[in-house]
């Protein structure tokens, strides 16, 4: 069952990646092309997911929307993981007051629940794709830093690390050749689950009008645009919501599978 779920997750994720990569070839229409005469038209043979208020093809906008979701997810996780690993390595390796200071900052960032910090940062920065990535990175590095630090604290007493240290390996060599490669399993798992969280957070910010701005086709913004028409045109919210859920499900299933493979103890 677990292996099947992992395969389903990987398959779905692969499909979304293909969708994002080949969006110009796969989208039936230009996602920005308007046709006001057909505003809110329901799904039909020509437009499988119907049209939005401005007569734009929802399927095309969903195909292009996958680019935004995956781009934000990958960008935020790449930056957050890099920054978090560096900060966590510094805290774990140097220790002492530096470690104390970094841990207090981490405690403060963690004192803000969920996407509250991102919402408040977006409130000051103003909406936009770059700002979304920036706001989510500001909150995203913390978990990577904590995991890296924790891993280093357990690894630094291992014999092979002591041997490397005794043979003259410097701090940078210890971090990049010994600590990080051996701490990679929990970091990969965190990256997988973190990416699902980032994609939902981006969609949530866009849903609130604080993230990606129209006419860019973000799934969260599409859900928000469809909200006033729930009664007469439910297809406006159904399809972007469904795609968002499937993408998050795919990433979570893949993350579960990775955890089972990389960290069998926690899978029990």
């Amino acid at each position: 069952m677990k292996r099947l779920n992992f395969r389903i997750g990987l398959f779905l994720l692969f499909l979304f990646l293909l969708l994002a990569l080949f969006a110009p070839m796969l989208a039936p229409e230009d996602p920005y092309s308007q046709n006001l005469l057909f505003g809110l038209a329901p799904p039909d043979a020509g437009h499988l997911m119907g049209r939005d208020l401005l007569g734009r093809d929802i399927l095309s906008r969903i195909v292009y929307g996958s680019r935004i979701s995956l781009l934000v997810g990958l960008a935020v996780i790449s930056v957050s993981a890099s920054v978090g690993m560096i900060i966590g390595s510094v805290a774990g390796t140097i220790g002492g007051k530096v470690d104390e200071f970094i841990m207090r900052i981490i405690d403060i960032v963690l004192a803000f629940p969920g996407i509250l910090l991102a919402i408040s940062i977006m409130a000051v920065l103003g909406p936009g794709l770059f700002n979304v990535v920036f706001a989510l990175c500001l909150t995203g590095w913390v978990s990577f830093a904590r995991i890296t630090r924790g891993q280093i604290l357990t690894l630094r007493e291992r014999e092979y690390v002591l041997a490397a240290h005794a043979s003259g390996a410097g701090t940078a060599r210890l971090i990049f050749c010994h600590y990080l490669p051996n701490a990679s399993a929990p970091l990969i798992i965190e990256a997988a689950f973190g990416m699902a969280g980032v994609i939902v957070a981006e969609a949530g910010l866009s849903f609130l009008g604080l993230g990606v701005q129209p006419p860019q086709p973000s799934w969260g913004a599409m859900l928000n645009e469809g909200r006033p028409f729930l009664l007469i045109a439910p297809h406006l919210t159904t399809f972007p919501g469904l795609c968002l859920m499937l993408l998050v499900l795919a990433i979570n299933l893949t993350g579960d599978g990775l955890r089972d493979k990389l960290d069998p103890k926690s899978a029990l």
Partner: protein, 307 residues
Amino acid sequence: MRGWIARRTLLLVPTLFGVITAVFLMIHLIPGDPVEIMLGETAMAADRESLRHELGLDRPVTAQYLSYLGGLARGDIGTSIHTHEPVFGEILSRWPATLELALAALLFAILFSIPLGVLAAARKDTAVDGASLMVSLFGIAMPNFWLGPLLIIVFSIELGWFPVSGRGGLDAIVLPAVTLGTAMAAILLRLTRSSVLEVASEDFIRTARAKGLGETAVYLKHALANALLPVVTVVGLQFGALLSGAVITETIFSWPGIGRLMITSIEARDYPMVQGCVLTIAVGYVLVNFLTDVLYGVLDPRIRLNR
């Protein structure tokens, strides 16, 4: 015990101080001019200066910080730019609605997940277990800003069972509570199942069975009571998370809580109000986490003895 609680309380002080400082610095450290964002790029220079003066942004940062701390000590967290009323009073009037919603969501999550989690553990590897896994997978993956509109379409528009939005009466809280509580229910369901399964392999469960107790009694009287400890911790931590989830849920259902106030204040670019909302939600979150920590220590003496 008292000493342990006192130490935990002392540790709370630097975190709260850090949160207060972070909320203050948010407006100063992030790139961009808040006055320009509030008034727009086309605003007159005189208007900008006037607002800058009104918000105290023309003073040195240290002076602003000290006056911010002084204000906090007096319960003054600023004045709304739009209503010119104290921010604290407005926020205080919105908290009961948010707490009501968060508690209802918590109740829904517990009532839904714990019985189903125990049942899934008792019927491991059966269709019931598989169904519970599916429910938890979809519950975690489903964003509340899609679930809310779906529930409105089905239960408000099609069936007419519940109102579409607003607060008042028991029926008005059902859909917002389910929307907010679903992700938590999904997490608790998985946790309860795995926790009960872990306890079910312990010796005292074997003894209970050997005494001739029925399966229902074994699971409800022995396994569940011992499996609930990690669930209590997650309930506490997730309750704090519900406070931030309420921002989106309150927006969907026009629920007049702190989250809705925060979003309308962001739209109106009322920075003192936004700052006040962020501050009180974050402080509430820290306090709930602290209480969870203390409760965990009270319930499990090993926790406080190990620290």
